[in-house]
Point group: C2
Chain length 783, copies 2
């Protein structure tokens, strides 16, 4: 086992949906599911371009004011990854003939998907097929595939058909509302251009009117013996190469595919753009593309890698997670990062609060440029968010709960529009990014406007009550098993930070604040609301209710809820779930993490113990937060168990929907558990602190962070932790378990880890324990 690779040692057709997601390649701009080169069999063919979507009507049995009338759904764009092989006229298809060997490897350092197959055709021709697929991090419009075929026993006639297919037939969507509505044939042909050894197709989406082009070109060995034909139709282009090979003789084809799209540019413009991209890639060549890719990833891993000694499988899962988080965000460049990245069409390809709350904390410290670009995308949709606020009767801006392009696409407002916390989540990500990078230009040109407009929204949403407290009523917090509650603690505390952050930043950039007509009195009101923010507390139980009244509700009848009734939302009415004490995902406990500065240690322990037995983790956005707080309180074994659950969510398909795309926020959660959980990293208001502590069985944990331009390295062992900076950064003040320390270049400052006082035990709902950290769990089917 190599923790830098994910290997599928043999093909499992029953897991095809899952492996298509796990083996997806993306640079944040282009996404290709791990479909087999020859296209079939497949579970869900998927080629995506970030923000290329189609509109679809959102119907309502009973309409309501402000309900969005149309939604945006990511579409499967022109598929450029198809290479079909015929051996003596028999199509290579793993379901026929005999499959002697089939291995797929996702390489986290090379950034490629490799496949190696030994197959005998039904007629007995044995061939070796190797393919390597790459979506370039460096040349963001480019996909490249190297395809090699070698007859093993006898001479063979070999035909390769390299294709571009638009409007592929897709499987019908299931009944699970979490799976994307599939749109049939969303593309209309605008141009077909068979072009030398390639084909270029231009299409346009019917309703969203986005223009996209895909072009393929080819390079191959041994020109003399190869017959090439090119064929092109509106929805299909193909380049067919035919040759005859001796046993052991290898034929190698390199396919280069360029993608481009625009909502504004002309057909010739988009066409030229992809032709240029393909030409440049051809000039770079296969080897060059591979070298660039490795260099890009070497740089990433130098900062981002987390090394943990004592659990090799977890080490692999950690790198797998970080690789996919990078893939989702690396080159999104002012487009949304969807909840499933570009690995599947789940959730219609929408982005939610996941990005800012789970992905950006990771990217901020490992790939800050990607974090900045994601926030610039939020800034770019501010006009739409202002329109939405106006429609809803609010001041400022209201960001959409789910969207691709920026318009609200949520069709169920109690768990959509009402989840106002997304505005504070975005602001929190802005504040974190600026603290971490000291990127003052971003703060002035983008961050300030986001903070100001969201602060204005909070002021118009909430109100001062008779006792002078600032209340925010009728909102839905992160936990979607409650809705429309008053004074959700998470929301109120995050809004408090939002309001203070806005008031702070307008002082720093008075000119920009003036452009937004922020008066001193307005900022003063933000501070007054923040200072008066109401945080309910249940004196009887000595815990914070998730929202006003929550702790008065009936506890869910866990004892009579059989395992097959999870996730609850598919088996019980919302009304029943909402009126009960049952929690889908960390909400108050997420406040303990992100607003840990607002709670005492004792409160944290009591709150965690109260909420732990109520939290069923029907969302993948829960276990990582529970792990972080479990670690803080000292439940190290529990944190470790949750970490395993987080790490294996997609690798073991724990939610049985990895097939529609990876759970990107949960993957980011692996890093969060390691760094914020066992590393104890907190970053409240720009102060970086650590409180590391290893769980049983681990001997060492090492991770890096980029902080105010310095490269910090943290090295945690059983009894001590070391902190140092790389390459000559200015000394950095930190805290280690509360104690002030200064990290410098050269020798690490090493401090002992204080002894842990064993906390009181906590438990989970009956039947909902975390995955144990036992490595014998489940079916470790990958290598």
């Amino acid at each position: 086992m190599d923790s830098w690779r994910l290997v599928e040692p043999e093909l499992d057709l029953d897991r095809l949906a899952q492996t298509e997601s796990l083996f997806a390649l993306s640079n944040g701009h282009i996404g290709l599911r791990g479909n087999l080169d020859e296209g079939e069999p497949h579970s869900l063919p998927g080629s995506y371009l970030n923000s290329v979507y189609e509109l679809r009507p959102l119907p309502y049995a009973e309409a309501g004011y402000g309900y969005p009338e149309s939604g945006q759904s990511v579409i499967n764009v022109t598929n450029g990854k198809l290479i079909r092989l015929l051996v003596d006229d028999e199509p290579f298809d793993v379901r026929y003939g005999e499959l002697h060997r089939h291995e797929r490897t996702l390489d986290f350092r090379d950034g490629v998907l490799r496949r190696e197959v030994e197959w005998s055709s039904p007629a007995g021709q044995r061939v070796l097929v190797k393919s390597t697929r790459l979506v370039s991090f460096v040349q963001r419009s480019i996909v490249a595939i190297q395809y090699e075929v070698t007859p093993l026993d006898q001479p063979a006639r070999i035909v390769l058909q390299s294709e571009l297919i638009a409007n592929e037939q897709l499987p019908p969507p299931g009944n699970d509302p979490r799976v994307s509505a599939v749109l049939e044939a969303p593309l209309e042909s605008e141009e077909v251009d068979p072009n030398g050894t390639g084909v270029l197709l231009v299409h346009r989406t019917k309703r969203s009117e986005l223009r996209m082009a895909a072009m393929m070109d080819h390079i191959w060995d041994g020109d003399d013996d190869v017959l090439v034909t090119v064929d092109a139709h509106p929805d299909a282009g193909s380049v067919t190469l035919s040759t005859a090979l001796e046993p052991g003789q290898r034929f190698r084809l390199v396919k280069l595919v360029g993608y481009g799209w625009s909502s504004q540019r002309s057909r010739p413009g988009v066409r030229s753009q992809v032709m240029a991209a393909v030409t440049a890639a051809k000039h770079t060549g296969w080897q060059g593309l591979c070298t660039e890719q490795r260099q890009y990833l070497d740089e990433f891993w130098a900062n981002a890698d987390v090394r943990l000694d004592g659990d090799e499988r977890l080490q692999q899962a950690t790198r797998f997670a970080l690789f996919h988080v990078l893939q989702a965000g690396a080159r999104a460049e002012q487009r949304a990062i969807p909840a499933k990245g570009l690995t599947g069409s789940g959730y219609d390809g929408h982005t939610f609060w996941d990005t800012e709350t789970f992905l950006l904390p990771v990217l901020t410290y490992t790939s800050p440029r990607a974090a900045r670009d994601a926030l610039r995308w939020r800034h770019s949709i501010l006009d739409l968010a202002r329109e939405r606020a106006h429609q809803l009767g609010h001041s400022g801006a209201t960001f959409p709960w789910r969207t691709i392009r920026g318009q609200e696409c949520s069709g169920y407002w109690p768990a959509g529009t009402a989840a106002y916390h997304i505005n504070a989540d975005i602001s929190d990500a802005v504040l974190r990014y600026v603290h971490a990078t000291e990127d003052v230009e971003f703060q002035r040109d983008y961050g300030l406007e986001i903070l100001v407009e969201t602060a204005r929204m909070w002021m118009s949403l909430g109100h001062f009550d008779a006792a002078g407290r600032f209340r925010i009523d009728g909102v839905t917090g992160p936990d979607e098993y409650s809705a429309l509650a008053d004074n959700n603690v998470y929301t109120n505390l995050m809004a408090q930070r939002n309001l203070r952050g806005a008031a702070d930043v307008v002082v720093l950039h008075p000119e920009k604040a003036g452009e937004l007509a922020v008066a001193d009195s307005e900022a003063g009101q933000w501070r007054r609301a923040a200072d008066s923010m109401y945080v309910p507390y249940d004196e009887r139980l000595g815990v914070h209710p998730q929202a006003t009244g929550f702790t008065d509700h009936e506890r869910w009848d866990f004892a009579n809820t059989p395992a097959e009734k999870y996730p609850l939302l598919l088996h019980y009415p919302y009304g029943d779930i909402y009126r009960s004490q049952v929690i889908k995902q960390a909400d108050l406990v997420l406040a303990l993490h992100l607003r840990g500065d607002a709670f005492t240690a004792e409160q944290k322990a009591r709150d965690f113990a109260y909420y732990e037995p109520l939290t069923v983790r029907d969302s993948s956005l829960s276990a990582c937060t529970q792990a972080v707080i479990a670690a803080e309180i000292g439940h190290l074994r529990l944190a470790q168990d949750y970490l395993h659950e987080v790490a294996l969510t997609d690798l073991d398909d724990l939610h049985q929907n990895t097939g529609s795309g990876l759970h990107m926020a949960n993957l980011a959660g692996v890093w969060l558990v390691l760094v914020a959980g066992f590393g104890g990293m907190r970053d409240h208001d720009g102060e970086l602190t650590f409180a590391p502590r290893l769980p049983p069985g681990w001997t060492r944990l090492r991770f890096g962070m980029i902080w105010k331009g310095r490269q910090l390295r943290v090295d945690v062992r059983k009894d001590e932790a070391g902190y140092k900076l790389l390459d000559g950064g200015e000394p950095l003040d930190l805290r280690h378990h509360g104690q002030k320390i200064t990290a410098r270049t050269g020798k690490a400052v090493t401090k002992p880890i204080p002894q842990l006082l064993t906390p009181a035990p906590v438990h989970q709902p009956p039947g909902r324990p975390p995955l144990t950290g036992d490595t014998s769990h489940g079916r470790p089917w990958f290598g």
Copy 2:
């Protein structure tokens, strides 16, 4: 002006939608909108049969567990009221030629709609047309129309085309969600039978698979000179009569139409049923049908009429209201009474809680048999309600929020399924009916099961909290501008009555209770929950919050809500409305009425004063309740103003949607304001009490009630009130302003009305005062 008739002195085509509803005829089984005989022009053609509906899919942008997948929509059945007239080959159409006179009269004692028209054709032929339309209360399958035409100046060739038309083309529905989705061509022809001087058509609905038949037959004067032809197609039958008339010579046609439907009976069965009905009606003859109709109504009015001296227009509106309430319920016979009766397709023809809470209190005391039948319909859908409860995870039965046949048809659960109070409303109607009638058989065979199954639902919905209080969380009360709140006072108090009523009745019928497996311990639990029912109270303000936390919410910004933004639900998002203190319709104030026994007089005054300025009356189910409580507290002028608003809601089209059907509950509200408001009638737990008091300008109010088989007559004057019984009933103990009295036959017992202490003033939201009682209001367009 005659208060026994509603007269439209001249035709106003701009008010056609409204007058089609106002002039609708119904017996609760058949409903005909007041369309012109000749069919055109029309706003909405409408012929309805109670519970003949079609299914339509209910779509959701985001699906959820337990959401109904299909809804039921009332359909426009075969139109049998069409009679077209041609004068010298020119069709009679009020839009062409010259209309000299056009008067329509709805007669509340004769139970007919009369029309008298003098018209000159474009060619100058002047004719007098008189029609009289009747939907028989006595022969419930029968519609009869007498149509008379007389040339006035010259001889004329007259052709009458009497038609039966199925699948009439309907106008497209508007965007207002309150208007029915219109279903195109829902009927499939099964049989076409031209039959002597009539035609019979049998159809079947496509998805709901209901079979219906309509048959017309004709009687006319002067056989010799009349040429008759009969024509029939799958969706159209016609009988054409052609004759020549001298000036002043009248031609009279009587059209008899029989309707029948069944979900189970065979085609020959349904066919025979309508043929028999038409034959019987033919035997009765036009005059006989009119006589029966008058007798039926004389009996009704003898008990139900409310006479008030001092406001003739209100007297007329009162009789109009009572006539339509009777029409809606008289012969529904174990079918639902829809919110709009059978006067239009608004709300898809659904029935809601309106029936039990507003209509049945009126029918219980004026037409108890109709009240019983409506409750037997509820009993007949208990199996569906049990299924629904099971689906929702509750014990017992959960009645649908809106339905025709019994299945839940609500497509927005926060204001549908969550409005659990409907179960208590139904139980309250059961308890009231049994108290009023002492109908022990009904109590045993129908009432008990409803009470037991709803009590079981409450037990599983609510829970005992740590303080031992029984809480009901996460429900929506009558006020639809709040949703999913905890401990809605109205709901909790009505559930309390429901639980006690169930516990009481199982003692009376132990055998029946045994069949339902009610153990003593179970009934004990019902009592314990009822006794521990939590009723929140805001100590700071000294009022009852509508639900827990309500009084902490921000007040709606009434000052900045312009008149055109009402109703709010069409102009503001639910989220904003729900989180604010703004009330669509009486909720806590309805509790002050229906559970007045649970409040002190001082609490009532304080609560009313608190809620009055928050209540915008965007629902027609509000003003009547506000009037009742205003009268109780002593705001007589305000109560009078509200009464005018209630009385004119449809007559003056105050909600601008009378065109899609009359507001039946609001019409019942006229009686409620008079009897429960100014008469001060209350009927808590079977004790009948009065506290009458006349508003300014009235000199006398008289009304009757049927109570435990006796006919009670109440006669209220400025300073005293008299109570007596008709025809030899046993003496009856009552209360008059708290004082025990006994009403007997013969001479009335007369008691003085105590002096009124002027209560503190109350006010309404800015811009939302009630209609003043000033008779100069508006445009009194009818005579």
